[in-house]
Amino acid sequence: MISSIKIPAAPELSYLLRLADTCLISGQRLGEWCGHGPILEEDIALSNMALDLIGQSRALLTLAGQRSGESFDEDQLAFLRDEIDYRNPTLAELPRGDFAFTILRNLVLSTWLKLMWERLRDSSDAELAAIAGKALKEARYHQQHAADWAVRLGDGTDESHRRCEAALAQVWLYIPELFEDDAVDAAATAAGLGPAWSQLQEPWLAEIGEVLGEAKLAVPPAPTFRSSGKRGLHSEHMGYLLAEMQYLQRAYPGGAW
């Protein structure tokens, strides 16, 4: 075994890690569909998107490593942190569930990411802006893919509608975390690094509302529950995910292809 790295408490670093971990953990979850897709073509599509997300997280983690004041590389950051140092919102780490759950989570997260990348193209950090420019193309496709399926299944059979409704109700519990600000957002906005997460809420609601309307799915009531993954306090699912994701690097430190 190899010991964990510790992340310095710097708000701008946290801002980058929140985004990087959203991509990393979503990618890890989506990758679980590899070999389990409902049809071959969809299996490939989901794996493609998982790889897009992991690619985005690699770029962001490399950048975060450079900006951390330590010499962490992307692999150390991806595989050698303790759970509390992962900063993805809880939604990303929830088990993949059925296909409806995966599609609705993808819809929510890809729309959020698309809006985020659009704004990050104007980041004061030129490298972050460049990463955003590339990632935006991928996120636009992810959003379209998820929206197509959401409409097909939401406005589909009784069973597909019922499953979508149930999935949306579950996903919706974790939405507030995507739009709540704290000191990290304040620092990022002040430095011109990127938008406060709350700034994405209005356009996000507009885009999601349009898709849900077409999918014949009602927007669920606002939850009172608050998840807290982006502050390092994760759900019970996170530890299992990390155990699987980190296993190789912990057992064979520095292992490479």
Binding site: I39, L40, E41, E42, I44, A45, N48, Q144, H145, D148, R152
Partner: protein
């Protein structure tokens, strides 16, 4: 295997670069044109093969009967004069 509950079959054509033609590269099952296009992108352009994709319902393609092959294509065998290889090109014309 019953095909009754299966999505229809689509043929996929991919163009690698602007200016080149679309080439047939395979087929897939999809519920409608939109899904067929999306899946074609995911299945057949993962290694930078594409700049444009066409999908066509397989049952919309009219094909020659393989048993007519002799009748249709063999008569061209002894007509080499149809190839424009007997002209002398001016030096200024390259790459013909």
């Amino acid at each position: 295997m019953s095909t009754e509950n299966e999505w229809p079959l689509w043929e996929v054509f991919v163009r690698t670069k602007a200016g080149l033609d679309h080439k047939h590269c395979g087929s897939l099952h999809a519920a409608d044109p939109k899904m067929a296009l999306q899946m074609a992108r995911d299945v057949y352009t993962r290694r930078q093969e594409g700049s444009s994709v066409w999908v066509v319902r397989s049952d919309q393609i009219v094909a020659s009967d393989p048993s007519d092959k002799d009748m249709l294509f063999d008569p061209a065998e002894d007509k080499v004069y149809r190839h424009p290889t007997f002209y002398k090109l001016p030096d200024s014309v390259d790459h013909m």
